[in-house]
């Protein structure tokens, strides 16, 4: 799978204060939704913010991907959040960066790897964290709201669920955690540190993504939104409709079924919904 433009920072443990966690943040090149200009990717920047908010950790940034003028501008955006340097694994355009990232992570052995849930560029499938976790054999936690504490090789995390719900999880380190828009917004990127920051280059051979090269890529169309017909006649009803949980009930929980049964159920649902004809 090609995951162009994804990078990571690794935080090295500080020698004092009882073993601070070494934290790495994988950062990618973002793309502004309106103008398409290169920028910090929103979710990755939130991951960096979360890493910076850990009081002891000295997070390090890492990026693997094709390096050009645009991606330099985007990466400097992360440096502007207060970093002297970031690690850069330069890859050919269109390379699959999983191998480069997993090799580097194995080498630097950070305890915690933070990253955005989905890249704004390239394939943007959101699969990279899973594939990395798979390659490294680490647990993965998605949609983080905050990191409460890290002690004795275990992190206490707050995971964001829909409608503002939170779930507290404890996870054994090392682990990969992903951050989406429920995490706190990233701090401003300052011009001075962004300009001064340096790229520490790490060599790694590019692995061309043969499958992706054959794909046709076109701009995504906005998914149509289901119309929500509000039949309410009073303000109270309208408020209830706005605040109500999404209607459940229509779904079906399949447990302990064979893959074939599961696939069949999904196929049936897609047909019912008119996605497949």
């Amino acid at each position: 799978m090609p995951h162009d433009a994804n990078s990571q920072t690794s935080a090295r443990a500080q020698p004092h204060g009882g073993g601070q966690p070494s934290v790495a943040v994988l950062i990618s090149m973002g793309r502004h939704p309106l103008t398409g200009r290169a920028r910090r990717a929103d979710q990755d920047a939130r991951a960096v913010e979360m890493a910076l908010s850990l009081s002891d950790a000295r997070p390090r940034l890492l990026h693997a991907g094709h390096f050009d003028q645009d991606s330099e501008a985007a990466l400097r955006g992360y440096l502007g959040m207060g970093f002297d340097a970031l690690e850069l694994i330069e890859q050919e355009s269109g390379a699959d960066v999983i191998a480069a990232l997993s090799d580097r992570l194995r080498e630097t052995a950070p305890q915690l790897v933070l990253t955005g849930a989905r890249a704004e560029n390239g394939e943007g499938s959101g699969l990279l964290p899973y594939l990395l976790a798979d390659a490294l054999g680490w647990p993965i936690v998605t949609s983080l709201a905050s990191i409460e504490r890290i002690e004795r090789g275990e992190a206490t995390l707050l995971q964001a669920l829909p409608r503002g719900q939170r779930r507290r999880l404890r996870v054994r380190l090392p682990a990969i955690v992903t951050v989406d828009s429920s995490a706190p917004a990233a701090r401003q990127s300052a011009f001075g540190p962004a300009r001064r920051g340096v790229f520490e280059r790490v060599a790694h051979a590019s692995v061309q993504d043969a499958a992706f090269a054959k794909w046709d890529v076109q701009p995504a169309r906005k998914r149509p939104k289901r119309l929500k017909i509000v039949k309410a006649t009073s303000a109270r009803d309208r408020f209830k409709a706005a605040a109500a949980k999404a209607e459940g009930g229509g779904g079906q929980i399949l447990a302990d079924v064979t893959p074939e049964q599961g696939a069949e159920a999904i196929f049936k649902l897609l047909q019912e919904e008119g996605v497949l004809r």
Binding site: T35, R37, R39, M81, Q188, F191, G192
Partner: protein, 673 residues
């Protein structure tokens, strides 16, 4: 006995003053270099003092007359005293007698002046500093009276051996007090420091273009100085006092603490934590090192009411001006909110008799906070991100900038390549209220058959907000791209209804290579009317007042044209107490609505009260920011209309004017194409 004492006193005071002067110069030279032509500057100083400075001081007749008597008397008395008593040229025979009499006149003149200085401080108005400044009138009197009495024997009015040695000692003591304050205090940091530092500040001012010359009228220099972003070692703004240029530090030292800036500052009046006078004094504290405990004027207002206590802030030339946000509530020289309260309205600079550049200093310090710390408060970071990503502060799709004019059929520069007038629309193009102004302006230009075109979606934010939020990098990026766009087309003038774009295009693009003839729409409409191209109906509405936008008035000296337009409409403007160069800001400049520092009241509310006092039913404005701020006032007594709207309504056309004009336009365009 005085014959022996006086020369000793005078020359030791002069020697101490010389040592103090050297120490002071060393303090200033901690700043960054800023090359000035030394001899030429010093030669220009007397004129700057006698003409430009006096011009500002003379806005208050009482103090200008007082200052002429006191300062003039002192300078003459000091020189004559050195000759008469220091060098002993005061013998009553020959030329010496004349000098003695002149000295008597000079010191008497100074004494009369010092009486008025004393009278003004009974009781002192709140804007004046107390502390050592309360001592100054007495010191002035001691000096003038002492010199007067010791000179009487020199001219033979009194016998030389008058009284006893006791009296001589008392007299010597009084003269010593006067000398200590006036001569040695001048360079060792007493109130008279303003004379020494002020004279040099006038000579080595960072904006020599501000001063009038014999050839022309008063000059103007209001554009912010560009940062050199290509030099990676140059500091990005001012983080510590030593990052100011040496002549900026010298300028801070020139402050006479008269508090005129404080009285003019809209943020101070609104209870936001800014007092320009205190800010300048804090910079002096930073330059010298120490705490602000000795400050004796009004402190910064505290948002929760009252004032911020004095004595908790301090710094040194190499220390930070603003404490690092993660330094756990520590304080440094000033708090960040003080710097972000400023609306950059320049009222303080306009009022300052010492020609200190407060706004330059504030923007310099903001640059550091934004460019180095990434710490622009409130919506600042978001607005800057929007400007970087979408070229407008609201984060709108740049491709929708021109959507408002879908029905206007405006000629695009991209199609036309050239036009007489390039109409610069500004970011108000995204704002529905300002779109009404733009429509009105287009209607006026069409009625006057002006050959104009617009950039449409090719236009970007002028960079005004980015620059005033301290983001020089984004400003320069926007400016350079705008300049590149403008360079592709041929036009004679730029006309805009946004004074902020007007100022930036006219005064700040020059340093980046963009030189244009720019008109504010009020100026351009006034010229159209004067040349008979507009046929206007008489005004039938109620009474009208006019609000001067800071960036049109104080920044660019255009007070007349908008009033001429209103006059052309048959409107007699009911002037507000604060109008013209003393106009009060609407609160919308300098990114203040974005950083939104809390105060006790809102600046636009105060401005609307000014409007209310005139009893006007309508306030004419010439700025999208002012329109937005004043229209945001709840329960306003007056309607807010742009000058362009007033003119557009008064255009003489038949009742079916809209249809007729549209038909006329269409046929006109058919001819063109």
């Amino acid at each position: 006995m005085l014959d022996i004492l006086l020369p000793i006193l005078i020359f030791s005071a002069l020697a101490l003053a010389a040592i103090g002067a050297l120490r002071r110069v060393r303090l200033w030279r901690q700043g960054r270099p800023s090359p000035v032509p030394i001899a030429k500057s010093l030669a220009a100083m007397p004129r700057r003092y006698l003409v430009d400075l006096h011009h500002v001081v003379a806005r208050d007749k009482y103090i200008s007359n007082t200052h002429v008597a006191t300062a003039g008397g002192f300078v003459a008395a000091a020189v004559l005293m050195i000759l008469v008593h220091g060098l002993g040229l005061g013998a009553s025979e020959g030329l010496g007698g004349v000098l003695g009499w002149l000295l008597l006149v000079a010191s008497a003149c100074m004494f009369v002046g010092s009486l008025f200085v004393a009278k003004r401080r009974r009781p002192p108005p709140p804007r004046l500093s107390k502390g050592p400044w309360m001592r100054l009138p007495k010191s002035l009197m001691a000096f003038s009276l002492g010199v007067f009495v010791i000179t009487l024997p020199s001219v033979g009015v009194l016998p030389a051996d008058l009284g006893s040695w006791v009296l001589a000692l008392v007299l010597a003591g009084i003269v010593a007090w006067g000398l200590a304050e006036m001569v040695f205090g001048m360079t060792w940091g007493g109130p008279m420091k303003h004379a020494f530092a002020g004279a040099l500040h006038l000579a080595f001012h960072r904006r020599p273009e501000r001063f009038s010359t014999q050839e022309g009228g008063p000059g103007r220099s209001t554009g912010l100085k560009a940062l050199d972003l290509d030099d990676e070692r140059a500091p990005l703004g001012v983080g510590a006092p030593r990052d100011f240029t040496w002549n900026q530090l010298l300028g801070f030292d020139a402050c006479v603490q008269c508090g005129r800036c404080e009285a003019a500052c809209p943020a101070f009046a609104a209870g936001q934590p800014l007092n320009p006078k205190k800010l300048i004094q804090d910079m002096v504290v930073g330059m010298v090192g120490g705490s602000d405990a000795h400050y004796a004027g009004s402190p910064y207002p505290a948002p929760e009411g009252g004032y911020k206590p004095v004595g908790e802030h301090g710094g040194d030339p190499h220390g930070p001006i603003v404490a690092h946000p993660f330094a756990n509530g520590g304080t440094a020289l000033v708090d960040a909110e003080t710097l972000w309260s400023c609306t950059t309205c320049r009222a303080c600079v306009e009022e300052c008799p010492m020609m200190i550049e407060h706004v330059d200093a504030i923007v310099d310090m903001r640059r550091f906070l934004t460019l180095e710390r990434g710490n622009t408060p409130n919506k600042g970071g978001e607005v800057l991100d929007n400007l970087i990503a979408t070229d407008n502060p609201g984060g709108f799709d740049p491709g929708s900038r021109f959507n408002w004019a879908a029905d206007q059929n405006l000629p695009l520069m991209a199609d036309r390549q050239e036009a007489d007038v390039l109409l610069w629309l500004g970011d108000g193009a995204f704002d529905m209220r300002n779109q009404r102004t733009l429509r009105a302006l287009v209607k006026v230009l069409r009625a006057a058959e002006v050959d104009f075109a617009v950039l449409g979606n090719e236009e970007r934010d002028s960079g005004d907000v980015a620059r005033r939020l301290g983001d020089e990098a984004t400003f320069q990026s926007l400016a350079r791209r705008n300049i590149a766009t403008l360079s592709r087309y041929r036009f004679t003038h730029i006309v805009t209804c946004d004074p902020h774009s007007f100022h930036v295009l006219k005064n700040e693009y020059g340093a980046l290579g963009g030189h244009y003839s720019v008109f504010h729409h009020s100026t351009y409409i006034a010229e159209l009317f004067d040349s008979g191209r507009l046929n206007l109906k008489a005004w039938k509405g109620g009474s009208v007042t006019y609000h001067d936008p800071c960036y049109l008035g104080r920044y660019n000296g255009e007070y007349e044209a908008p009033r001429r337009v209103l006059q052309a409409l048959g409107i007699e403007v009911k002037e507000m107490a604060r109008s013209g160069y003393r106009s009060r800001c609407c609160g919308g400049g300098g990114g203040a609505p974005i950083t939104d520092v809390p105060g006790k009241r809102r600046i636009p509310d105060m401005r609307m009260e000014d409007v209310n006092e005139t009893g006007a039913e309508l306030v004419a404005v010439g700025c999208p920011q002012c329109t937005a701020m004043l229209e945001g006032v709840v329960n306003a007594s007056a309607e807010v209309r742009d000058i362009a709207e007033l003119v557009a309504e008064a255009l003489n056309e038949d009742s079916a004017q809209d249809r007729a004009s549209r038909r006329a336009q269409q046929s006109e365009e058919a001819l063109v194409s």
